[in-house]
Symmetry: C2
Subunit: 553 residues, 2 copies
């Protein structure tokens, strides 16, 4: 059996290695256009920021490695020009010699990856407008910085590559301005979580322009100004364009391979395309949501690796099948960690779920062990109790909690299940009840125990619509006097038990405290006294305060 | 309804708080013998080691807090002398005034906790023999150190309290000797994992005496020598006895409440004892294993909290039920983290499982992002593929992996499920394939793909018994020459493909490399060439080397 693979980064090399692990006798060839193979795309921003000092660390495996270890021939700088699926022949160009030749195959794997979206903007072809997808592009950015010692960078797009670049450029002493066409940073998060990221970025002296787009890039040989749709003009010594990627699927399309979301290649759970003996894996391939089972295009190295392994297994008669993804993502900016899995609130509502939402603000460890607060936003389905998605913004221990949620959601966990997890507790690692458990308790109380939560956004809508809502601030008076929600009555918890009975039991109440725990205590007191409709403000005043900028817009 | 709770630490206060959250009208009283209530027992070693500077941080909640927040009366320094279950009356002694009085109840919760085991050793009553269970005992140790400036401490027992104390005393400049009656430290781990902990402790200049016990504590007013069963005599300025705890259940026993494992109180899943209206929770209560469903006594703060909440919920008509535990534990010693959940290999074999075992040595993050290696030992059931337990020794990211395993095992995960998890990947947080996923892949290959593993211990037994085994070392010659397994033939992987065919296909082969990955590659080559019986050495030469001290004994 002769297998040819197009693409030698995450998906292609994973596929090749798996084929060899299962089968000694196949002939395996990988063609790739690039100079570098099997590199860590996710490490590129840290290479530019000099966190990674040695370029070789990004590309630990070269062609020789694959030959020795797996008896695989990797041919770099070769472009596959055409797939003749009927005759099982590829037309290939050696980019160094420009020779064109033909290669036949028994099985073909397309792992052509994705490429950055290049916007149709005047000036975007200039040499100081950079994209970051491969090692050569990272080299170019590094070389440009070294040579020109730029002072100002404009980064277009605030996904994780944009933000990771913001940190790494900042660390090199370059001033950074982020441009985002949406009204929030980190488009993958709900806007009520993105506010935490935005505030932190601003505290790190990164300029952020939201709700605006690049109109034109001015300059002669190099771009030196960025003109925005709003009319604003920014000085820029160079530009990083990070507005997303799209799959490299022209070759597949021309071979009549079926495409799906965003033009990515449609495959079955064995990674086979609609054409027999042609498989595909990695960033050029459509995935699907573990939750909705609907198609999803979410190109990530971790998924590419999975798909590659499954493609290789399928070709050699294995029984591995792709099970779908949650679309989990995580990134670090300075000391902040931002993570997300499953559906956002927005996505869940768009999918028609009857959504329960909570904002749980908790330290990752006891304060006496230097714990730092994180905000966990969790979304569950009120009808089934099942978790749908989680977003976390914090500093330490965020990666742990998101991975626990990922695992729980994968196994169909209900909110009520989280409290029962026998998670590892010792003061250097967590609180006695882990933040994950509290998240489950809060959602379970909402879904099954009538302890309803209200988000700052919906409370604001209530107030705007003139709903007759009694808002009770249960914090101590000093905190209330510093700042409180307009119209709120201050009754510290200690006095609340006695005063609660005097209210009209048929009115709508909203209780709140600093982060939500005492607000829930007030809510319990009211409900246990027979009050009909009592909401606790999700995430308390701390979360409300963080939302105000967005709410008033 | 009047609820009386005996014990105001983790279980008792959790129960009280939950009752109030569910019900405004119950009268709730908690009696406790101690001076301090609701303290963090797990924080005590760090208070002694001055990681926790302020004593109040250990006891953030006092009686006033419970009154204000929950309308609960907490009465400290009160000993319950007798439970009259028939008449629902308690006999109580005020330890300050010595007054004795009676208190009736509608519902009773026993949360009397556990106490350190005091060995029957001459001298163990002396004032510089310390136990560490409550805040006063920690105060005593602190005061003794401050006053006497001791140079040498002997710690008896190497469970997590013993080891945490070793670290914290060492940090205060005190030389520590650990005495353990077993032939390994950390009795909760399999011995092949404890060797990693032992080696690390020794590297931190902590003396360790294994397989020995205290025979006598010598000295006049204070102990100044520890005489061991072996005849060894150690100088000691003070002793920490940490050989385990036992439940405080004399009161329960005298009231004819049914006891189980280790004398702990038997309860149903609603935390009710065999006597109606008497509940129990916390460290005095028997738990059960989520895996075997068999009774288990594993007193831990995290479980006590769970049980308390469930007891409180049951009493107020809630539907929470205790689901059992995995017996998860974690502790830190200096920079090392040691974690465990589910069954050890030894326990799994004792329970009659058909066990698959792997040792997976992987960094928690890419090397270029300062990743540190951890050793994951995972145990699965060959018959069902299900994970049974995991032990991890490492430095960073250990707590994350154990919690992901806890979550997976809780939901009945099979080894093959782990590869499919969509865990959060970015270089500052993990490798593209997380160590958890690799663990699943290795076990799945063993269970379902014929890639059998052999532990160093079993390999050694093979060799001792004179089994005709061909051992192949696939590392480069330089590594082989430095150290290798006796009798192993060195064939570096690059040459192995060609040489493999020359061997007799019917012999038994063991392949190995440094950590197991290349060993698996050699194994694949042999199996794919039709060899019948090929084992890969679990954890490679690195793990083998770590085991040698134990194996030769």
């Amino acid at each position: 059996m002769k297998v040819v693979i197009i693409g030698a980064v995450a998906g292609g090399t994973s596929a090749g290695a798996k084929i060899r692990r299962n089968d000694e006798n196949s002939e395996i060839k990988i063609y790739d256009m690039d100079y570098d193979i099997s590199y860590s795309g996710c490490g590129l921003p840290y290479y530019i920021g000099e966190e990674i000092e040695d370029r070789d660390e990004l590309t630990p495996r070269n062609a020789e490695f694959f030959k020795k270890k797996y008896n695989i021939d990797v041919l770099r700088r070769h472009e596959v020009l055409k797939i003749d699926a009927e005759n099982k022949v590829l037309t290939i160009k050696n980019l160094e010699t420009e020779d064109i030749f033909y290669e036949n195959y028994d099985k073909l794997i397309i792992a052509t990856g994705a490429k950055p979206i290049v916007p149709d903007i005047k000036g975007s072809e200039k040499s100081n407008v950079f994209y970051l997808r491969n090692v050569r592009q990272a080299d170019d950015i590094k070389a440009y910085i070294l040579k020109n010692k730029p002072k100002n960078a404009v980064i277009v797009g605030t996904g994780f590559i944009g933000l990771e670049m913001a940190e790494n450029l900042k660390k090199l002493g370059i001033h950074v301005t982020l441009i985002e066409k949406l009204n929030q940073v980190t488009p993958g998060l709900d806007s009520d979580m993105s506010v935490y990221v935005e505030k932190y970025l601003r505290s790190k002296d990164i300029d952020i322009i939201l709700g605006d787009s690049v109109y034109k890039l001015n300059g002669d040989s190099l771009v030196n100004e960025v003109a925005l749709e709003s009319g604003k003009v920014l000085n820029a010594d160079f530009i990083i364009m990070s507005i997303g990627v799209k799959p490299n699927t022209e070759l597949a399309r021309e071979a009549f391979i079926e495409l799906g979301t965003n033009g990515s290649i449609k495959v079955d759970t064995k990674m086979m395309t609609n054409i027999k003996d042609i498989y595909a894996c990695g960033d050029c391939v459509e995935s699907f949501s573990l939750i909705t089972k609907k198609p999803l295009y979410r190109p990530l190295g971790s998924t590419a690796n999975k798909m590659g392994r499954i493609a290789g297994d399928s070709i050699t008669g294995g029984n591995l099948e792709f099970r779908g993804i949650l679309g989990t993502g995580i990134f670090k900016i300075f000391d902040m960690a931002v993570a997300q899995t499953g559906l956002t609130e927005k996505e869940a509502r768009n999918q028609g779920f009857n959504v329960a939402v909570c904002h749980n603000i908790k330290p990752d460890k006891p304060k006496y062990y230097h714990g730092k607060e994180m905000v966990i936003k969790a979304i569950a389905d009120k009808n089934t109790g099942k978790l749908l998605g989680v977003q976390i913004v914090g500093y330490t221990g965020v990666d742990k909690r998101i991975d626990v949620f990922v695992t729980a959601i994968t196994f169909g966990a209900k909110a009520e299940d989280l409290f029962h997890l026998d998670l590892a507790y010792a003061p250097p690692f967590s609180t006695t009840k882990d933040p994950v458990m509290y998240t489950g308790m809060i959602l379970d109380n909402e879904i099954n125990k009538g302890r309803e939560l209200i988000t700052p956004k919906i409370l604001n809508e209530f107030v705007k619509k003139g709903k007759d809502v009694i808002i009770i601030d249960g914090r101590v008076s000093r905190q209330y006097e510093e700042a409180h929600i307009e119209g709120a009555i201050n009754i510290p918890q200690a006095e609340f038990r006695n005063k609660a009975r005097k209210f009209d039991k048929n009115k709508i109440f909203v209780t709140y405290c600093n982060k939500g725990v005492t607000g829930n205590a007030l809510q319990n007191i009211l409900i246990n006294n027979g009050f009909k409709k009592v909401y606790n403000l999700s995430g308390g005043h701390k979360n409300y305060k963080a939302q105000i900028i967005k709410i008033d817009k």
